[in-house]
């Protein structure tokens, strides 16, 4: 989306609009995180940035105009950057292990429960964020904490 291929790399980029953002819009760094780390961190992002995310989505439900929610969007991105930096500092190796596993295993969470448990544990110990899947039926073990699930990877 925001990827802009530099000129001279052999990539045809005549259609990439290089116009910068208008100066009256404050600058915010983009996340620059690929899909696997994002998926690995999704539940932590969801609970850590809950207020900003909900604010943004409420704003979007007011109007779909991209100009309408730029301020809320910046808050969402800043919060995500904040959490990602914290994760890198505190649980860097666990996070790496989990998202590399996801990258290798078709981004299926049930293939990567072992690294995920370590990451969840670390996140809870260091940052106090717990992974909760909303809507899990009462009294049943959440799927990510199940010790012997039926769906698991056959290859170790």
């Amino acid at each position: 989306m925001t990827t802009q291929y530099p000129r001279g790399t052999g990539f045809k980029c005549d259609f990439v609009d290089q116009t910068p953002m208008p100066a009256d819009v404050p600058h915010v760094d983009e996340l620059g995180v690929t899909s696997a780390p994002l998926k690995s961190a999704a539940f932590f992002l969801g609970s850590f940035c809950k207020d900003y995310n909900e604010d943004f989505m409420l704003c979007k439900s007011e109007s779909r105009d991209p100009a309408h929610c730029l301020k809320e969007g910046r808050k969402v991105t800043r919060c995500a950057i904040d959490l990602i930096n914290k994760m890198r500092e505190n649980c860097g190796s666990e996070w790496d292990a989990h998202w590399e596993c996801l990258d290798k295993r078709n981004q299926e969470l049930y293939h990567c429960r072992q690294p995920e448990r370590k990451l969840n544990e670390c996140m809870f110990d260091k940052l106090g964020i717990k992974k909760v899947i909303p809507g899990t039926p009462e009294g049943r073990t959440p799927i990510h904490e199940k010790q012997s699930p039926i769906y698991k990877s056959i290859q170790k």
Binding site: M1, F43, K60, T136, P149
Partner: protein, 123 residues
């Protein structure tokens, strides 16, 4: 010369007893045992299937929630980019149509306030 006379007699110890009894080897468990066993295996299989269906539903929910949690972040990023391109497009339109009096750059072609995504996209 004739052979000396010799009476033919049974072998020493007598003849073997005649095998007239039916020889049927053991044929495994009985019908009810097999029926019961198959029923038990099927019942266990269906139980596992049911548990697996419940589990798959939970896995699906987990996956959906990862996407729901990531949606605002991705949307915010996309919106910024779209806003930037929109502003550039309006500036471009202004420049092109500067000689046409009464032209409003960036005006929607529809007579309502709903937001439409641009028909022509420049990445």
């Amino acid at each position: 010369m004739a052979a000396p006379y010799r009476q033919d007699m049974p072998p020493a110890g007598g003849f073997e007893s005649i095998k007239y009894k039916r020889n049927l080897p053991l044929r495994g468990p009985g019908a009810y045992a097999i029926l019961g066993g198959v029923t038990a295996i099927c019942a266990y299989g269906f139980y596992r299937l049911g548990q697996g269906n419940l589990e798959r539903r939970e896995l699906e929910r987990e996956k959906v929630w990862t996407r729901i949690h990531l949606l605002p972040i991705l949307m915010a990023e996309g919106d910024r980019d779209q806003y930037r391109r929109q502003q550039a497009a309006i500036a471009r339109e202004k420049e092109i149509m500067k000689d046409v009096p009464g032209w409003e750059a960036g005006k929607s072609v529809y007579h309502n306030d709903r937001k439409h995504s641009p028909e022509v996209r420049i990445a």
